[in-house]
Subunit: 296 residues, 2 copies
Amino acid sequence: MLRAAAAAGYEAFGYNRSEVGAKAARMDGYDVISDVEAVLTRAAGRDALIVVGVPMPAIDAVLSDVKTFAPDCVLTDVVSVKAPVAAAVQRHELGARYVGGHPMAGTSESGWAASAPDLFKNAAWAVSVDPGVHADPFRRVAQLALDCGAVVVPVLAVEHDRAVARISHLPHVLAEALAIEGANGGPLALGLAAGSFRDGTRVAATAPDLVRAICEPNATALLDVLDDTLEVLTQARDSLRANGTITELTEAGHDARTDYDDNERWFITDVRPGDHNWLTKLIDAGRSGGVLNSLD
Amino acid sequence: MLRAAAAAGYEAFGYNRSEVGAKAARMDGYDVISDVEAVLTRAAGRDALIVVGVPMPAIDAVLSDVKTFAPDCVLTDVVSVKAPVAAAVQRHELGARYVGGHPMAGTSESGWAASAPDLFKNAAWAVSVDPGVHADPFRRVAQLALDCGAVVVPVLAVEHDRAVARISHLPHVLAEALAIEGANGGPLALGLAAGSFRDGTRVAATAPDLVRAICEPNATALLDVLDDTLEVLTQARDSLRANGTITELTEAGHDARTDYDDNERWFITDVRPGDHNWLTKLIDAGRSGGVLNSLD
């Protein structure tokens, strides 16, 4: 985020609780400190837009600091779930200037060395349009996403969480299971593994604690999707056992992947933040694949 | 295969039952016809090594032609299962000069236009070392794999089939299920999908009939792995529901992916085809990750 915002011309400064992490960023010429009071006081003094980028388990501690040192700043986050963050923001009475966000981009690596200014180029960036979101903070958050090269997907927190259970959290769970089944085949199986196994297990290389921090706060939505997935797989297994075929699975799966390949963004051009019913209009547009690529 | 063998200096000629496919290859300067009797008669006259590259359901028809027109040629195949092909070869009484093969390489595309001479560079190429395999045909088949840029993984047909159920057929099944779950989330979910979903569903783009032709002949091994996978996923689901955590899954999955990343080929240097007990020695070496990168 810091690299991308700085590359886009923002006067960007940052905080990392680890002085090692902060120093690594400073060595590359970025303005990053490990003193949370100092960074938030500075943010408050400049009416900065605060972007919280920590795993869900660390949210409460960070919001508590924001409430203490910079309660009037516009606030967003890049956490992988939105409803639990929104609830935490409410608990800390920071809701008035909060607009949740989630850029759909990342790698299986972490730390300063894994960061890149072009990570968000052409990415989808979910931005909350929940009741109570105000137009001015929405504009600032959405503009930051656009300036980082992303498009803005307007979405309700709870619908975001259900969607990412399907397309982000389930891929993690299936990758872990696939990796386990492959390794159970020993060196022979792992030595024969090629592209389908490599790609299918790529995200299993993510640190286990990070996968937990991503998936567990979204347990309700993920459980629904896991139940569905177990049903799909059980049906395929039963069909293979009883009739020797997985026709239904392969045809539905191919159709689904074709839907994905054919799924095209369309640009929302007729809604401006602050217009009459703008939240409702953006919610509807986002549900049917619409994105904002400009605020004008 | 034809492109790779020709690039390696072989006098390679081919057959495709579709004249359109054969012509596409001829337009690129390759010697390919659509007359099966002519191509096999020519193969028999030159003591050619015959490589059968058809989906499992077409194997019987092809072997019947081979038995009629070129029964004394050395015979191999690149089909994704080995025990069912070996059984078919026995039925057609072609076992004496048969050595099964399976290069672990491919894309989700098919047809002449999707072929590439460097597809097998550095790939693992399973070659059968089942009882009854003779040293001379083994040498010819293994040398072809090496000349195409691959390394040879010596393996029993039944152990190959169990291994590929884990690292090739299960990835197909999980990719189909993941694609279905993603598409069920509609345009919003598909629009938010990023790298983990794209990679995890890549092979769901494969033609459904080809996925069936790959997986269904290996039903026995795939059913065992599917049962295991359902258990792993059910345990994760139950743990998430009861305790809010997927610790066990994420740690085992990460360890497994690390096993895969750390899995290194080692070169078998002390066994030559035809040596005393060479088949047994190669079976043992293959089981523990050994590969042949030379026959000398």
